[in-house]
Symmetry: C2
Subunit: 344 residues, 2 copies
DNA sequence: AACGTTTCCGGAAACGTTCTCGGAAGCTGC
DNA sequence: GCAGCTTCCGAGAACGTTTCCGGAAACGTT
């Protein structure tokens, strides 16, 4: 009959039991000054006894600050974004910020909705990687205009202002290819990404410059620009193998590409790394599933998150006096079994 | 000098411009009744013009309802939980609920903190898989006592009351092993999980009963109970191979175990599936990385999320009159290349 | 012309906090 | 015994909504 929607205890309940005012209770709970240690103790005990839990909603409303930062990523099926989020959460929690995560599922529409939702929840700031579908950025600018700080990572656009944290694609690629050269590869192919993507371009340039630096002439036939459709990389790898003068090293633009190449090489009974070495620019911290395990250039995933949060919090604190920064993080070469030893 | 912390427009701003009351604006915005279509139109236009975005915080406070459901998972590095969350988000969004995701990182302490945080944010309900570390459930019961509905999935405990959605481990295992038998395997090993975990036990029982049903005697030496430490499964697989009478079929309790077994088999130059068939009880929808691709029993991941949300929303609506339900979902056998054909 | 209904709107109280302000005690020093 | 401090506390206004309630106007009915 009576729907007894069990109400949560509030600072009022504490105040009444103790015969003090709610201001006093509030002060005690936030351990602000202006309070007698004894009353404070009494309040804390009563709070404990009533199992009082502060209402963040009310607090946020009053303070016009939620202490929540939103994170929006295209997806978290693949291990890349989850790792970054881990880094974000770690430091955010340490700074007494809550993190809420949403995924756009690579859809512009959902991204737009989520941005709205995040703003409706009045997050103090936003860390995001835009969806692959997104070409129009008005929804993002719109909430930037409203004063919400945003830090971008991974998928960044020159059309947007704001802090950004990215990895050094060029240098990473350079390192990877140089490693192939130093371990004896003479004829190095590149399974590249779409040739309009800045990321692909930077990595290809790294590849080219590594060759040049070490006096190896680039051969256009060894560069295969794939869209990222499943199976494409495999086809290209097969083409490379069908060629009379096969490469003796392959630099793959990312993990999925490398895996396809690997499968193709195995199907052709090519010995790795003896006949052909394989190296990849990796998103994930390890590719331990596969055998042989892949030598790769890896990104400092947790670090990306960490830096992003730091930039965001600074912007939250400094407000409009903050000027956006772009931080470029370095990659690291992790040598595994798909390339030869330096000693060779 | 003046910190001009740009305030967001509120219903007040709209009301003043239009010379109406905030009640009217509110009614127009929520398209409630009791409003003249023309005034409503005017309000909507003005809202658009001022770029008004509702303040969910204030609304939640007033309504004592946030329309947010919390999701807490141990991690989302592996593809399992992200898939489930996808299912959750899809239906939750359709029902005008926002989803916020947190991960406990398999830590009891973080889980506890996150539960607090979720409650502080006054989520309307919670969908969770408890962390591996969690053996004490007081923090969960505590907020259940406060009236927050919770639906558990994947990691459930008999010690907790509440709706649960799980998959039929027994039946899935049965199907898997039966498939091995039907494709000609006579001597089937089981790389099992920890023998105290209900999940492991159920899957092992499915294995045993499948053998029994088809008149095959179980052999204790063919059952290897692994803890889930990396490398263990590989060792056990090697042991099985060292044995004079090798198995001709292997049922792996999960994907990582299967992958290790696969690598071991390849290293021993065992032909799959001709010499030994391999089947796995899978978390992920596919294991397409590996070659040969693995025949597996898969869980309806998106469905788990979907069912969980439905249960939760019913509980939110029906309140205390709701009685918890446990839903057991069926698995599906997906035949790939690591088992022989039925025709054989 | 009086009355009942419907349609629309405004006032004002909530929701649970935070925080400014002022003021009542109690203390010090002279 | 008074001025000035310090220490502690309460009153009350905000934050931006929703929603109950009452009432004014407009309409229809007899």
């Amino acid at each position: 009959m009576s729907s007894r929607k069990s109400k949560q205890p509030t600072i009022w309940d504490i105040a009444i039991k103790l015969n003090v005012s709610i201001s006093t209770v509030s002060r005690a709970l936030r351990n602000a000054g202006d309070i007698n240690p004894e009353t404070k103790k009494a309040v804390l005990e009563m709070a404990e006894k009533l199992d009082y839990q502060p209402n963040a909603i009310a607090s946020s409303l009053r303070k016009s600050k939620t202490s929540v930062i939103g994170v929006m990523v295209p997806e978290f099926i693949h291990p890349y974004f989850p790792r970054v989020i881990l880094g974000i959460q770690e430091i955010a929690n340490a700074m007494d910020y809550k993190v809420i995560v949403m995924q756009s599922n690579e859809s512009y529409e959902i991204e737009k909705q989520n941005i709205q939702a995040m703003f409706a929840l009045r997050v103090d700031g936003l860390i995001m990687a835009v969806s692959r579908e997104t070409t129009d950025f008005e929804h993002i600018r719109s909430i930037q205009k409203k004063g919400i700080p945003i830090v971008f990572f991974n998928r960044v656009s020159d059309e947007l202002v704001g802090s950004k944290v990215v990895v050094d694609d060029y240098r990473g690629a350079f390192l990877a290819v140089e490693h192939l050269i130093l371990t004896g590869c003479k004829r190095i192919a590149h399974l590249a990404g779409p040739d309009k993507l800045t990321m692909s371009i930077n990595r290809r340039n790294g590849y080219l410059d590594a060759l040049r630096t070490h006096g190896i002439a680039a051969d256009g036939r060894l560069i295969m620009h794939s869209d990222f459709v499943e199976g494409r990389a495999r086809t290209y790898m097969q083409e490379l193998l069908n060629n009379p003068d096969r490469p003796d090293g392959v630099f793959a633009v990312n993990d999925p590409t490398a895996i396809e190449a690997l499968i193709c090489l195995k199907d052709n009974d090519v010995r790795i790394p003896d006949e052909i070495s394989l190296i990849t620019f990796s998103n994930a911290p390890h590719s331990s599933f596969v055998s042989p395990s892949l030598t790769s250039v890896v990104q400092p995933l947790e670090n990306i998150g960490l830096v992003a949060v730091q930039l965001l919090l600074r912007q939250i604190d400094e407000g409009q006096y903050f000027t956006p920064e772009t931080v470029t993080l370095d990659t690291e070469l992790v040598v595994r079994k798909s390339t030869r030893n330096l000693a060779d």
